[in-house]
């Protein structure tokens, strides 16, 4: 089923007039005029919507944590940092249909009592940022934003803020630091952002996709949304397909759709008719899975049960020509480069893992490095300050779990057995 992408065939849906003609901003009107803020939160809670930024936290619950005290300033930060390797869904959601996001943000702000929202957008997303700014200006002119929205006493200003190129600034508390103009590194919790977030005020941070779902929930009701997908993972999920597939791109599927269907039907199968070797279902921060896991459903619970996570649904596919050590090294380099440096295990451990992986890939590695990699990864995971450290361990642990023999071959044969283009490489890898 298509919810977020349902207008994608409508030409010029990014134009506000077209969006309105297609029923846009009706949800905002309904929320403001027919529902109380609590009513909106209840509908979202009932829908079962969970955060699409990676952690899957129930959205209604997050909003309900915001104190009701009207004397407190509250903020909404839309997380559009989208730096997770393999993930490019928020970009499309913004470029193709910016008003859907604005409408979702406005409804959220109404629900939590915020008059000021920010979109923290990845620095490289120059075009999406411009698009967003234009859409905000249009919506303000038309009275969907600004003072006394739709004739009610609800006011809202949305501002676009461009990041400066750090993956860690997608982590919600580092995002707040960055937005405040201080060093981008995660904050100690508690206090949680719902109590003390941006400028020490109650703050909701939500992913683009999460917020884009909100107008549909308001219009059609929480029950309707909850009826889509699986029991605990409701609604749809936009999957970013990349790597060795014939048709890379974003696909919106119901939660619970089997991986086989996503790879072979939506994405058109493996490039060059080769065999699937491994896939990462949720951006590089989740464990990779293999051929054996083709019938797993794409939802929070099934992925967990299979030994991975849904994450951002940044889906990276690797075929049989891929050198797993090199692919892992690539991802390890990403984490070493992006570690903010605040905590010891991640700062020191991520670069140590890179050193060992490089040695193995270059043929100077020792057999003992394989267990040592596992040990170091296990000592970063769960002991770091934030989830970036945990994430850095996932590619290493899962690749050794599934492809230990390939690591051993690298060591015993003193080099990489894959000739020439060893395939899968992240940018900069």
């Amino acid at each position: 089923m298509r919810i977020l992408f349902k207008h994608l065939d409508v030409p010029d849906i990014d134009d506000m007039d077209v969006y309105i003609r297609e029923g846009g901003y009706k949800a905002l009107e309904k929320a403001l005029k027919e529902m109380s803020p609590d009513g909106v939160i209840q509908a979202v809670t009932k829908s079962g919507l969970r955060g699409r930024g990676g952690a899957g936290f129930p959205t209604g619950k997050k909003w309900a944590f915001i104190p009701k005290d009207p004397s407190l300033k509250k903020y909404l930060c839309c997380n559009a940092d989208e730096s997770e390797p393999g993930t490019f869904k928020d970009r499309e959601l913004i470029v193709r249909n910016p008003h859907q996001l604005i409408e979702g943000m406005a409804i959220c702000c109404y629900a939590i009592g915020s008059e000021r929202a920010f979109i923290y957008i990845r620095g490289e997303y120059i075009e999406p940022a411009r698009k967003m700014e234009q859409a905000i200006a249009k919506a303000s002119n038309r009275g969907f934003l600004g003072e006394r929205i739709l004739g009610t006493d609800f006011n809202l200003q949305i501002q676009v803020y461009r990041g400066a190129g750090a993956y860690i600034c997608g982590e919600e508390s580092a995002l707040l630091n960055s937005l405040e103009g201080i060093r981008g590194e995660p904050r100690l919790r508690p206090p949680f952002p719902a109590i003390k977030g941006l400028y020490e005020s109650p703050t909701v941070i939500n992913n683009v996709e999460t917020l884009a779902n909100v107008p549909h929930i308001v219009l059609n009701g929480g029950e309707w949304f909850a009826s889509i997908g699986t029991e605990k993972s409701t609604g749809t999920k936009v999957v970013s397909m990349s790597g060795h597939v014939n048709n890379p791109g974003n696909y919106e599927v119901d939660m619970g759709t089997p991986v086989r269907e996503i790879i072979f039907e939506h994405a058109g199968g493996i490039l060059g008719g080769k065999r699937l070797k491994a896939y990462v279902p949720g951006g590089s921060s989740v464990p990779m899975l293999t051929e054996k896991h083709l019938d797993v459903g794409l939802d929070f619970e099934s992925m967990l049960a299979a030994g991975s996570m849904l994450g951002s649904a940044g889906f990276m596919v690797m075929n049989e020509d891929t050198c797993i050590v090199r692919a892992t090294l690539n991802m390890a380099r990403f984490y070493a480069h992006e570690s903010c440096g605040k905590c010891t295990p991640c700062r020191e451990g991520t670069s140590w893992m890179v050193e060992m992986l490089e040695s193995i890939e270059e043929g100077t590695g020792k057999m003992g490095y394989i267990d040592r990699l596992v040990d170091i990864a296990n000592n970063i995971n769960g002991r770091s300050f934030c989830a970036l450290g945990d994430a850095s361990a996932m590619p290493v642990l899962s690749s050794i779990e599934h492809f230990r023999d390939e690591y051993e071959t690298h060591v015993s044969e003193r080099g990489c057995p894959f000739a020439g283009d060893r395939g899968f490489a992240l940018r900069g890898g």
Binding site: L188, T344, T350
Partner: protein, 710 residues
């Protein structure tokens, strides 16, 4: 009680206040948890991950430095898993550390060494190239940084941001490339930079004064007091071979310094072993100062002073001990026979000293440094505290930034603290009395049009802040009472202001701010021409009281002030002067006039460490010891009597000021008998009522305040 929480750590029960950090609760049980980034005086950050422990109910290990206790919490620090976590964090920290302990200043007193010794891995599994940085890097003329040794605990950055509020040093770059640094073209220019060296848990931040001077285990450590200003921060004097002082470290006195030192104090240790120190007495012969024996010098000194008869005078010192100053004034009064004694040669306003003494003896000035921390409004009048009493500046910043206290900062110039003030009142120099009266009047609703060079509005806004205050700390500079014109009027206005505040139910603590390390003590023990020791105004009855205590009669008439001496020296009213531990011909604002007057004297004796400007003019120069070579007491701005202890042997032939005076008295045929420094203090405690009941021992390592109850 609801404010108490019960928890179990390693199977042992403990009850602690709500909000306590797990690591502090463990400390109470004597359970040690290794740390690097955590420091009890700064906000926890949980960055280094060294202090991970297991807490039941948490799926992951938790950092004990930033987790707060909860009722029924079960914490474990003694499992194999926890030991392994401690070990791996140390392994991580060491993989890029240069392990150059043999040439590292910190070796031997290094938390990284200590934690590795106790909890670390026996060896390293790291087989790759270590991280390199250019090093060492001078962050300022005082602080040097070795980035390869840095373990990125961010204590330095946090201290400068949280405590000093001078965020000159920062973390740059990211992740593996993280390093501590300064902004281009902006050196680490903070009054408190030295604290970062002491906070550094490795040998990354180093003192350019101490670097490569000594190994920690070959140093002795002596408890003492910083001689640099009236705060009297507690220090440890580190020395080698009982001969060479290599550095000062802080010695946390929670009532005085909170464990911090300012750079002016911390780095001022090199003068002690300066090769220019005087080592032999000098006597002027045929117009030139030449080396002489102590006997020759003391004889010449005593003869020269005696020859002046009643026209002799003496100047003590604000950085010499109570014992030294007490003996000095006793010597001047009984042996030389004059009350022409003062602690300074700076001009005083008429009646200023009397106002000061009135405030001290009535108990008006009975406030304490810690009052700053507990008041909701702080009024600072007449001092650039950041420069004059630097560590007090930290107390004020903390009160304003952390407790939300309001500061009313009255000072003629826009000094650093003006930035923290809710009300900044730049009154005009010389109009202190008008300003104080204006403020007092505004407070009772009679705001003047203008006062002390300030508009009525400015005064009124301050009065408004005061009117909402419940607890007030009023800090009054000595100079506005003693040196500014109409000090008595200023004092009366302040009395009336405080009276009104108190009548309205506010609690007010007034503290006198004095600048020298022992200005307060000098005055207490009698360095005042109009008062005998203990602020006894000179008259017939006080004269006989002192005569009884001393067994000899002091001169019965008030003497000349230091500034009077300058004037009288010009016209022959004063012929001979003995200066102990001061360089008035250079250090005071009116140095030029003073030097000119000193040139007119028949005879000048100077007791000092160096051949100062004043000493160059002297007939006899007596080489004396620094505070590190003697023992005694200083009394700080909050009237806290604190001990200094001897850290090294006296330099060459120099002698302590007390011994010099005793020898001079002996040379003059007087009977001054004191077995030990303690005996002098015992006499002070007998003679000076404010010190009654104190003994050298009972003062303890952190000092005792003398108090007069109002």
């Amino acid at each position: 009680m609801a404010d108490e929480v019960n928890l179990t750590i390693d199977g042992r029960q403990i009850t602690v206040p709500k909000g306590t950090l797990v690591i502090e609760a463990a400390k109470k049980l004597g359970i040690e948890i290794p740390i690097f980034c955590y420091h009890p005086k700064m906000e926890p950050v949980g960055a280094c991950r060294q202090c991970l422990v297991e807490i039941e109910g948490f799926p992951k290990p938790q950092v004990s430095c930033s987790t707060r206790v909860a009722d029924g919490m079960v914490v474990r620090t003694n499992t194999p898993e926890v030991k392994q976590m401690w070990e791996i964090v140390l392994e991580f920290l060491l993989i890029n550390h240069p392990l150059d302990c043999p040439v590292c200043d910190r070796g031997g007193e290094c938390p990284l060494q200590d934690n590795t010794f106790r909890y670390g891995p026996p060896d390293s599994r790291f087989e790759h190239e270590k991280r390199h940085f250019e090093k060492p890097v001078a962050l300022s003329s005082l602080v040097v940084l070795d980035r390869e040794r840095c373990i990125l605990c961010f204590r330095c950055v946090r201290f400068q941001r949280e405590i000093a509020d001078q965020p000159d040093i920062q973390v740059f770059n990211r992740g593996y490339g993280d390093y501590i640094g300064i902004f281009p073209g902006r050196p680490f220019d903070s009054n408190f930079s030295g604290n970062t060296i002491e906070l550094c848990p490795v040998g990354a931040l180093l003192s350019s004064v101490f670097r490569f001077r000594a190994r920690p285990w070959e140093m002795t450590s002596t408890e003492s007091i910083c001689p640099n200003c009236g705060v009297g921060c507690n220090i440890r004097v580190n020395a080698r071979n009982f001969r060479r002082v290599v550095r000062y470290l802080s010695r946390d006195n929670p009532e005085v310094d909170g464990g911090w030192l300012c750079d002016r104090g911390r780095f001022d240790s090199t003068f002690i072993n300066d090769p220019e120190r005087l080592t032999k007495p000098l006597v002027r012969r045929n117009g030139e100062l030449r080396e002489a024996t102590w006997e020759e010098a003391l004889e010449a000194a005593v003869d020269g002073m005696k020859a002046a008869g009643l026209r002799a005078a003496g100047i003590g010192s604000a950085n010499r001990t109570n014992e030294q100053n007490y003996l000095f004034q006793k010597f001047m009064r009984l042996v030389i026979g004059t009350n022409n004694i003062d602690y300074t040669m700076e001009p005083m306003a008429p009646g200023g000293t009397d106002a000061l003494v009135a405030g001290l003896t009535s108990g008006f000035f009975s406030g304490s440094i810690r009052d700053v921390a507990s008041s909701d409004v702080i009024v600072s009048f007449g001092s650039d505290i950041s420069q004059e009493l630097p560590v007090l500046d930290l107390w004020i910043k903390k009160a304003v930034r952390k407790n939300g206290s309001k500061l009313i900062f009255a000072y003629p110039l826009r000094a650093e603290l003006a930035k923290y003030a809710s009300s900044f009142l730049p009154y005009s120099y010389g109009k202190e009395a008008g300003f104080a009266a204006g403020l007092a009047a505004a407070f009772v609703g009679k705001a003047p049009e203008q006062a002390g060079g300030l508009s009525g509005d400015e005064i009124e806004s301050a009065a408004k802040i005061l009117s909402e205050a419940k607890i007030v700390a009023l800090l009054v500079s000595r100079s506005v009472i003693e040196s500014a014109p109409d000090g008595m009027e200023t004092y009366r206005a302040l009395e009336s202001l405080v009276g009104t505040l108190e009548a309205r139910g506010a609690r007010v603590q007034v503290m006198l701010l004095v600048d020298g390390a022992n200005t307060q003590g000098g005055m207490d023990v009698g360095l005042l021409p109009g008062y005998y020791p203990g602020y006894r105004k000179i008259d017939e009855s006080s004269c006989s009281e002192i005569a009884e205590l001393w067994g000899a009669e002091p001169p019965p008439e008030p003497g000349l002030t230091g500034w009077d001496v300058v004037r009288e020296a010009r016209n022959g009213g004063v012929l001979a002067l003995w200066v102990m531990g001061q360089d008035p011909a250079r250090d005071l604002v009116r140095a030029k006039e003073i030097a000119e007057a000193l040139g007119k004297l028949d005879f000048l004796v100077v007791q000092d460490y160096f051949l100062t400007e004043t000493a160059r003019m002297a007939n006899v120069v007596l080489p004396s010891c620094t505070f590190a070579e003697t023992k005694g007491t200083f009394t700080n701005t909050e009237r806290r009597v604190q001990r200094i202890n001897q850290a090294i042997y006296p330099m060459s032939d120099s002698d302590s000021d007390t011994d010099i005076i005793l020898k001079a008295a002996f040379t003059a045929g007087a009977q001054f008998e004191y077995g030990r420094i303690e005996s002098i203090f015992e006499e002070i405690a007998r003679v000076v009522p404010q010190y009654g009941g104190l003994t050298f021992d009972s003062i303890g390592p952190f000092g005792r305040q003398w108090e007069v109850r109002r």
